[in-house]
Each structure stands twice: as C-alpha cells, then as structure tokens.
Symmetry: C2
DNA sequence: TTGGTTTTTTGAACGCGTTCAAAAAATGAT
DNA sequence: ATCATTTTTTGAACGCGTTCAAAAAACCAA
C-alpha cells in the first residue's frame, strides 16, 4: 500500500479514500484484466473455429492477461471465491466470453446443452484459474499444458452430450454447482431428468 | 500469534522456535483435523454401505471435524493448494479415506475404475472443500446441501462408468488433473482410449 | 567447579495493512 | 469578502506476523 500510494503521489492514508482496502484494489485489478481479456477474445473469436479451439483461445487469453500479475494469484482467487467486492461484474464478463466461445463455435455444440454450456465452461475455467493461481512452475507451464489437454476433453464431452446418459451427467453437475440448488433445504430434490428409472425405491 | 503464545505460556518470539510461521500452525491444525476425520471414518465405514452412503459419510465427517475452525477456511485452502508444509501427509490421509470408502462399498464399484476412483473422489472432495472454505451460509448449510446432492451424482457416475463412453470421460478427467500430466511438454499427447475415431484429423 | 558450547527463551524492533482525528482545501450561502 | 460546511489530504498510531541479536538456561568435557 505504501508503494502504491507513493507511485500515485499521495499519502498512504489517502489511498484509503479511493479504495476500501488492499483486497479492493486487487479486485479492481482483476476486473480490469478480465475486461482486457474480453477485448482480446472479441478479436480472436469471430472466425467460426471449433469449440475446442475457442475454449483454448479464451483460456489462453486469460492466462496471458493475468501473467504479469501471477504473484497475486492467491489474492485473486480469494476475491473471486469470497463473493465480495465487484466480482459479480467479473463473473458477468467471464460468462459473456464463454457465450461468445460457444455461440461462435462451428459446428455448434448440441442444441440440448447450447444454452447451459457457457455456465459449465465457467465452472471449468474456475478450476483452471485455481490451478493457475498456485502454479509454481516456470512461466506457468503447467497451466498452459493443462489448458492444452483440457480443451479437447471438454469439446469431446460436449459432443457426447448428444447421448442421454452423458447429457444427464452434464445436467447433474450443473445443477450441483448452481448456487440456487444450495438454497433448497426442506424438500428432497428428486433427480432431474432421470433417463433410466432406478430398479427400486 | 500473540494470543497463541500467551495461551501456551511462552513469549511471542518463542512460538517461532516451534513453528516456522502462522501458516505452519494452520497446516499442522489441518493435519490433526484430518487425522481426527480418519478415525471417525474408520468407525463409520466398516458396514458395507453403498458407495453413495460412504461418500456422504466421509464428506460429512470432514465438515464435522473442521466446523469449529471454519473461520480458517481460506488459510486451510491456501495451505492445501500451495503444496507446501506437511500437506502431502494430509493428501495421504484423504486418499486413504477414499480407499476405505470405495473398498468398503457394496456393491463394489465397476472393476475398471475401482483402482482410480479414490483419486477421483479426492478431486471431488477438494472441490467440496473449496466451497466449504468460503461458505458464508449459517452453519455451512450450503456445503451440507451440496454434499447431500453430490453423493448420489458421483455414485451414479461410477455406475455409468461401465459404459465405455462414460468410462473414457472418467479417464480423461483423471489424466488431466494428474500432476504428472502437466510435466509432459515436448510430445503431443494422443487422446487415450479414443472410442470413436474422429472423421478427419 | 570451571569454562566453553549448544539449546532455549526473550525483548525490541521491523514491515505491512489499516484507522482516525484533525489539518488543509474546496465549496457555497449570506 | 465572510464564515460555515463539506470534501480532500495527511501524520501518527495501532495490531499483526515476523525477525534477530542477545540473554538465560541447560549441557558437557576438562
């Protein structure tokens, strides 16, 4: 904070006139970087690539924009997971990027999951982000490798969602991670879209 | 640290004679709690329940043991993800619990995944832990609900792994998160167990 | 016992994020 | 222009995790 204030040419305490806390500054920085990533993605996604390619583009743009601030990986993650600060805006931007990636992919993903796939990819991306945040390998090589290996798997999964069994797994996972699901307490939730009746019970 | 040192009846600086840092104390605490969870699980898992039931038992034992220290959720997570401190021991214990959960389940999970399922469950459990660490709902209600809803989904997934398509997804996911995968840099990894040949390269 | 060596323990200080009362500056009505 | 009010800016301090030189204690050969 002392360095930031000095660089801004104000006193230490004056920095708190503009920002609530250091974490708040980190949150703003993350927001700026996500906006930068969005701009980068908008330049790269408009060519009708495959879904796999688009997934890689978005993820790589992410680590590229954040790379100069990799030392703030853990604070970034904390801001994102703590659900405070301006992170609903960050989530909005992330979701928008995944909508572009899905909507611009050729061939288009199966119709049945097309609407929900962006939210699913958001979950996947959060997992990548977690890995990246604590990636101690040089140049975050591990994260890049993970992205490279993950993109085809997710794309394959999307295609397999044409099969009802796989599709129901997709729905289950999405329902689990949907925050609304956690609010249901009283009634037992029946499994959604049970494609195969359980033998008993 | 001042409070801990005072409670221990030593001076502040003397606490650093026994522990490297505050994070180190947190890591040791987490290890103790995992050992406690293991003991709890060993008492509850020896009855040949279903896999779903065992999954719930292990996860619930986890949140139960950690509940008194929920305020340390984020530091716990950081310790676990940063890969420092004594967390390979923590991982060992967690893996052991999942081996008990899988090996003691009746009916036994499909043979093809029986060996790898514990590692898969470890990944799932880490995700639950992440959710729990930042769970702001009262009594961590959200985490409990998530566990309740997740157990049947994972159990269902395990059964579906009898189908080759689903099984290959299982293998893919496990390979992705395996740290060894990230070390492969030079050669392009061919997709393992491709069940359906792509139409063109 | 002595004197030297190692282990244990401490007090004082540092850096960092944060707070707060109050000074300085800007603003606005009379 | 004057004074009251609000906005902007600051210096001094606090709490916390951490470090370190040095004191105190324990240990051990001579």
């Amino acid at each position: 904070m002392r360095v930031i204030a000095a660089n801004a040419g104000v006193s230490l305490s004056h920095a708190y006139y503009y920002f609530e806390s250091k974490e708040d500054i980190v949150a703003q920085l993350l927001l700026n970087l996500r906006q930068e990533q969005l701009q980068l993605c908008q330049d790269l996604l408009d060519e009708g690539n495959t879904l796999e390619s688009n997934i890689r583009i978005v993820l790589e743009a992410g680590v590229q924009c954040l790379a100069p601030y990799h030392e703030f990986g853990p604070p970034f993650l904390k801001v994102l997971l703590s659900g405070e600060h301006a992170n609903e805006e960050v989530t909005r931007i992330e979701l928008l990027m995944w909508e572009l990636a899905v909507g611009g992919a050729r061939p288009l993903p199966p119709l049945g999951i097309r609407r929900d796939l962006p939210r699913f990819l958001l979950l996947v991306a959060r997992q990548i982000f977690t890995t990246w945040a604590f990636d101690q390998s040089s140049q975050q090589r591990r994260s890049h490798t993970l992205i490279k290996n993950l993109a085809p798997v997710v794309a394959k999964f999307a295609v397999l969602c044409r099969l009802p069994v796989v599709r129901s797994l997709f729905e289950d996972i999405l329902a689990l991670m949907d925050p609304r699901t956690s609010d249901i307490v009283e009634q037992d939730r029946a499994p959604r879209m049970a494609l195969r009746k359980p033998k008993a019970s």
